[in-house]
């Protein structure tokens, strides 16, 4: 199927073929799964916000501790205090949803600004941004976050600011590459000779018309990173604290029971992490292949 695809020009240019002809079924499946997960997460977030849950996530039931999945009224079983795991999973989304969006917003906003500066102005900006990129890449992210935790306090929004800032270089280098490519195109030159203000060229013609899909892709990848960080940190005990559930602290709390063969306490949140991050990754890669046409090789 792929051998018929003729990608005209270089990266970033789409072929004239119709959507169905140039799109790989695998990519559609990726995007389909990703969108399913995103929808599930958003709906669960809203349900959690309005407390529309199967059970009360804080309701301790000492008669029904560590009930296996499938117990009446507890689809995924109960934890070591008899609390409903499914409800806690749904509420656990609260721990990363808004902070994750903050991280994504920071990465996209500053990444775009720096990327435009480097791509459109070039010169010293470009050198500075390369330096900044290498600088950020020198730190293991988790270590940097632990440093911030030690210096300030274990606040999820501080953590997500660091996650967002460390994602800035990736976004800016993508935007920069795209602008380098677009600058060779006639429409930018035409815009300049028509006397359009630089603002219009950059915001409308470059960013809005040509970088939209790139930013959406980066947003999904950034969200996956944010979820990974939040769950890792709450696993390590720096995120949301018991009794408030988060997927990471649920895995951690279930660890001892895991070794006794009672897997579901840790496994339910761990698989939630797995499927969610997988969903965001596949969505990003699928969209990348479809919208940016990088499958042409």
């Amino acid at each position: 199927m792929k051998s018929y695809i003729q990608i005209s020009g270089e990266i970033g240019e789409l072929s004239e073929l119709s959507f169905w002809k140039k799109t790989d079924i695998v990519d559609l499946a990726y995007v389909g799964y990703g969108l399913f997960i995103v929808t599930l997460v958003v709906i669960s977030y809203i349900l959690g916000s309005f407390n529309l849950l199967p059970q009360d996530p804080q309701d301790i039931n000492l008669d029904l501790m560590i009930a296996p999945p499938g117990t009446a009224g507890h689809l995924l079983g109960t934890d070591f205090m008899g609390r409903d795991i499914l409800s806690r999973l749904i509420v656990g989304i609260q721990a990363y949803f808004l902070p994750g969006l903050l991280a994504v917003f920071i990465a996209l906003f500053f990444g775009t600004v720096l990327g435009v500066l480097a791509g459109y102005r070039g010169g010293r900006f470009e050198t500075a941004i390369t330096y900044f990129t290498n600088l950020v890449d020198s730190f293991p992210r988790l270590v940097l976050i632990l440093l911030v935790i030690a210096a300030f306090k274990p606040n999820i929004y501080y953590i997500m600011i660091v996650v967002g800032l460390t994602n800035v270089p990736v976004v800016s280098s993508h935007i920069k590459g795209k602008i380098h490519f677009l600058k060779q195109k006639n429409f930018v030159e035409a815009g300049v000779s028509l006397g359009l203000p630089t603002r219009t060229i950059i915001l409308k013609h470059i960013l809005w018309h040509n970088c939209r899909s790139l930013l959406i892709i980066q947003a999904t990848i950034g969200m996956a990173e944010a979820i990974l960080m939040e769950t890792s940190l709450s696993y390590l005990g720096f995120g949301v604290q018991e009794p408030t559930p988060s997927w990471g602290n649920m895995v951690q709390a279930g660890a001892n029971y895991f070794m006794q063969g009672k897997f579901w306490l840790s496994t339910a949140p761990a698989l939630s992490i797995l499927f969610t991050i997988l969903g965001f990754h596949l969505l990003g890669d699928g969209l990348n292949n479809i919208l940016e046409g990088k499958r042409g090789k």
Binding site: L135, D137, P140, V143, A151, L236, V251, M259, L274
Partner: protein, 321 residues
Amino acid sequence: MKHSAIRPIALMLSRELTITALLLLGVSFVVFIILYLSPGDPFSVLLEGQMSTAEARAGLRELMGVPKAWHAQYLSWLTGMLQGNFGTSIRTGLPVLKEVLRVGLNTLVLTIGSMLVTLAIAVPIALYSAVRGTNRVSWPLTMFSYVVSALPVFWLGYLVIYFFTHKLGLFPLVFGYSSSVQKFGWLYPMLPILVLGIGNGTISEVIRYLRDEMGRVMSEDYIRTARAKGASVWKHAFKEGFLIPVTEIIASKIPFILGGAVIVEQVFNWPGMGRMAWQAAQDRDYPVIMGIAIISAVFVRLGSLFQSVVYVAVNPRASKE
């Protein structure tokens, strides 16, 4: 190595060393700024519960000869660090640098071991799909790599511990107890290496990168020529299609693997830098975590230095760029 290859390497090395030095300067500055901005200066921690008035702090500051302006503070801190004085741990009172280097060796073993595991998994898959393209075998393998990359590494750790201690009974549950009974005790350190190698979340990226690079090289003209005249394709493709991409991707993934080490060391009680960082963050023992941040940045930079050396050794022209 041929003699002609030495000069470009020396040229490149001097340039790369300058860049590395500049970047490490930046690293130290970032670390300093984070601490500088943090609420409560070191003096209020030192004086906790004693006489924490502003005058007392100022007095102590003067007594210890700490400059007031931030740039002077930074400079004195930096000179101290260059002389190997990273300060002492607030919790244990031991010198930070010595402690971090002591446990850093364990982390080095863990990270290098897991890189090898990652490569051992990624390279065959990448080679296969680069040579054969997408087919019935490589597609499930790609899918598998996606799933593995999304696995929470801590849970993978539990899974492996459970399997090896309960199902196979190879190890005691807590390492160190009754180790004389267990015949396979020496295998225990392999577990965290294996877990981090699989679960560091980079496998799918590594596979994709290696596959694309190998695929690109395989379709080059010189490979076609080699194939046409019956020469060894592998020998011709090795440098550009294998050595360079492998060192490149490994160097760029060091920070991720070090980050994963923080979690894996926690799961397995591995006495390394990551566990120390965790403990330090718990205790807000910032001199320690500062030292760890800087040492791991040095480690990352050395990795990328190594990568540039390999790159120029393989392709001497690159030193002139």
